[in-house]
Symmetry: C2
Subunit: 295 residues, 2 copies
DNA sequence: AAAATACTTCGGTTTTTCCGAACCCATATT
DNA sequence: AATATGGGTTCGGAAAAACCGAAGTATTTT
């Protein structure tokens, strides 16, 4: 990654804004030589002429205009940063940033998070979704307080991350009424060649599913493959195929989507983890999440 | 205007990204003390703690997370600026940045601009709209090549701007068929109390109009007041009121909108100007615009 | 309790920033 | 044509920062 020298960029920007070195030097209390030299250095580092001389004056070149547009944005952001920092938000609440692996069922995730909101102090919740590895990166850099995932963090991550099991559950297969009726008949053989909506390749649930099917010699046909569990359910609603969900969330999913149970696979175990950046938990809201292992 | 020290911000950003001074110092080839000190200075200048110590490590505070979001954007822009500057050439055309006063009729403006596109070399046209004063500022700082306006630039502007008259024209009043039929009957007395769609206060056309009405003791009722001439016409289409347009554009407006003429006021003169930053015109496309005065 | 990890402080070197003075060039004025 | 005037540039040096290595301190993990 390569950046412009922001001091030089500032000189360029104020000069372009003011229309001349002279005007800029007066308005911003820099000397002409300073501006002139810094602009020259910026031009060198960008390897482009930003100004051209047109009759004793400086005029922006094509590249100069483009650079100016960037500079406008950059300095607007910079000045906003300063302002927003001064005005400390009066909301003196605890804030909790949770990363939720996008493969995780949202309803289940929410049940994990809920205890964090029942604290004496008010908690401002920030939820971010993403794939596990990017969430872990944000976690270890303290941009997230805790990550919910269906897999434990790699053992010797550096900086380290600590996983705690929140729940373990078997698996159940659900589908909309019509499809469920058909598939229930001779479960589990009926799943062979049946349309399934898979979670994304490489996720813990997908691995477990593949193994389970393989062990039984079943080969469902992949009707769809969705990262997001809500998306899977939307597809299932439409009868695209059946889905696998953790048994502990079957009830709430049935209620919400009107699915019916095709069958269950309790020997296919899934676990859910809360991952933190330190073993000792200081954040009270995170502690609340960890103190209530559901299973 | 007040900015953060971008070097300090960089230190903060890389550290937040890396999760620790140590990691950041390795990845970005700075020493820990450098990062540590610069971050401290940033915190002082922003008057906020960006990091807090939570067990021997640094964790972002609330303000730190916000600042980090700004920093992400700022450095993304910075790096983009560098990249886009390197990849310069490709479009080897002349580029022409025209500022068009938003009160100006678009069709007429276009007729002024068109000659610029009939040059031997290809021209890449950039049109910006705005109020005259902001356009003039952009012009004198060479972010625009020429400004089209219905008023000449103030005489002793610094830096100077030079106006050249492109066209002069009387005024005509137009309205949709129904309203025009009614107003045509006893023009111009019929305009008294009639609903008019005014251009914005303070524009040259508005001033001329006001004077013309005042001289004749007419008081149309302002049904609307629009900055943008296209907006006026849209309103007029709807029968909200009648509009005043330059006589030279009557034909094209009638054709386009199906308006009918209520009457004309040839003694109410309007002029249109091209304003440049320098008397001597070097830009061939601008020269083309100036060489074809329509009236 | 020891070991490991991670942040700070300190003193000094190297770079960068920044300025005043002098110089140059185009345009506008006389 | 000669001369202001309004810019821009070059030069040398002073002041301020950026930056580092070494040593010091604190906390967590084992």
């Amino acid at each position: 990654m390569h950046f412009p020298n922001f001091n030089h960029l500032r000189s360029f920007w104020v000069t372009a804004k003011a229309g001349s070195l002279r005007a800029a030097s007066q308005r911003w209390h820099f000397s002409q030589p300073t501006l002139s030299e810094q602009i020259k250095q910026l031009e060198e580092s960008l390897d482009t002429a930003l100004f051209q001389k047109v009759g004793g004056r400086l005029a922006l070149t094509e590249a100069g205009r483009r650079a100016f547009d960037y500079a406008e944005q950059i300095f607007a952001l910079g000045s906003e940063l300063v302002e927003k920092s001064q005005a400390e938000p009066s909301v003196r609440g605890l804030s909790l940033a949770v990363g939720v692996a996008d493969t995780l069922p949202k309803l289940l995730s929410w049940s994990f998070i809920r205890p964090a909101l029942n604290l004496p102090q008010p908690v401002r919740l920030i939820c971010r979704e993403g794939d596990v590895s990017s969430l872990l990166e944000q976690l270890t850099t303290f941009r997230l307080d805790v990550v919910l995932s269906d897999e434990a963090a790699p053992a010797h991550l550096n900086p380290p991350a600590f996983s705690q099991k929140l729940a373990t559950s078997g698996l159940s297969f659900l589908a909309n009424a019509a499809l469920a009726k058909k598939l229930r008949r001779r479960y589990p053989e009926s799943l062979d060649q049946a349309p399934i909506i898979f979670p994304a390749r490489g996720t813990a649930m997908r691995v477990a599913l593949d193994k389970w099917f393989h062990d039984r010699g079943l080969q469902p046909t992949a009707a769809a493959e969705c990262d997001d569990s809500a998306m899977q359910k939307a597809a299932a609603l439409d009868g695209v195929g059946f889905v696998a969900v953790a048994s502990i969330e079957v009830e709430s999913v049935r209620e919400r989507y009107g699915f019916e149970v095709v069958g269950s696979a309790d020997d296919c175990q899934l676990s859910f983890y809360a991952i933190t950046a330190m073993r000792k938990i200081r954040h009270p809201a995170v502690a609340a999440i960890l103190q209530k292992p559901i299973v």
